[in-house]
């Protein structure tokens, strides 16, 4: 069956460290994968898109990798700050171009 898996346990890290979140998928062949940030009680906000022919994408302190062999994307936040605390969702292109979301990983950055 098709699955998108993100670590359901919260990730707690200290300010200044690099946070790494994982998104694994099975039985999909997405042409692209996206990452969103969601704050409590708010709608998700788009962060980055990476295509299947791109190994890595960067935007300021954010970096995303996409390994189609491992069927995995890693999302990194360098020099993390308490303001980065949120839930991060990965989403990939499913059938008929529909976007399929993972359940998200909550990141908590403490001072």
């Amino acid at each position: 069956s098709q699955k998108i898996e993100q670590n359901s346990e919260a990730l707690n890290i200290q300010e200044g460290k690099t946070a790494t979140l994982t998104c694994n998928y099975t039985n999909y062949s997405p042409a692209y994968l996206q990452w969103y940030r969601q704050d409590p009680g708010r709608g998700p906000v788009f962060l980055l898109l990476i295509r299947e022919n791109e190994k890595e994408k960067r935007k300021e302190r954010l970096k995303v990798t996409f390994d189609t062999t491992l069927k995995q994307s890693l999302f990194h936040i360098t020099a993390s700050q308490p303001a980065d605390s949120a839930t991060y969702l990965c989403a990939l292109q499913g059938a008929a171009d529909k976007l399929i979301f993972g359940t998200g990983t909550r990141l908590q950055v403490f001072p």
Binding site: Y32, G43, P44, V45, L49, K98
Partner: protein, 112 residues
């Protein structure tokens, strides 16, 4: 930036009531979506629309219908609300080529 506006942030309705959730986007995007989000289940697609008067079922359309009479407006309708429809409802609009979604702030519906 695209702005997607959902009409109500919080609603409380009774079982059996008809519920309308309205969504308006300001960037002339063809593609619009309705999701619901529940703890542990993530975002699940209810319905989507690629153009005016067009609608397609998502993964969980049962108990819902939609209306798209104008390009900028996509409405979700619960004909007879039930308690298992208590959820956060999120509307989104998409840039065609990339599929990047712009979400509204969400409507938290409680059905008593």
């Amino acid at each position: 930036d695209v702005k997607v506006t959902q009409s109500s942030r919080y609603l409380v309705k009774r079982t059996g009531e008809k519920v309308f959730l309205e969504c308006v986007q300001d960037m002339d995007h063809e593609n619009m979506f309705w999701y619901r989000q529940d703890p542990g289940l993530g975002l699940r697609l209810i319905y989507f629309s690629y153009d005016v008067k067009m609608k397609e079922k998502g993964d969980i359309p049962e108990g819902y219908s939609v209306s798209r009479e104008k390009k900028e407006r996509f409405s979700l309708i619960l004909e007879s609300a039930s308690t298992n429809q208590t959820s956060m409802y999120l509307c989104a609009a998409a840039i065609l080529n990339t599929g990047e979604l712009f979400f509204g702030e969400g409507s938290r519906l409680t059905v008593l």
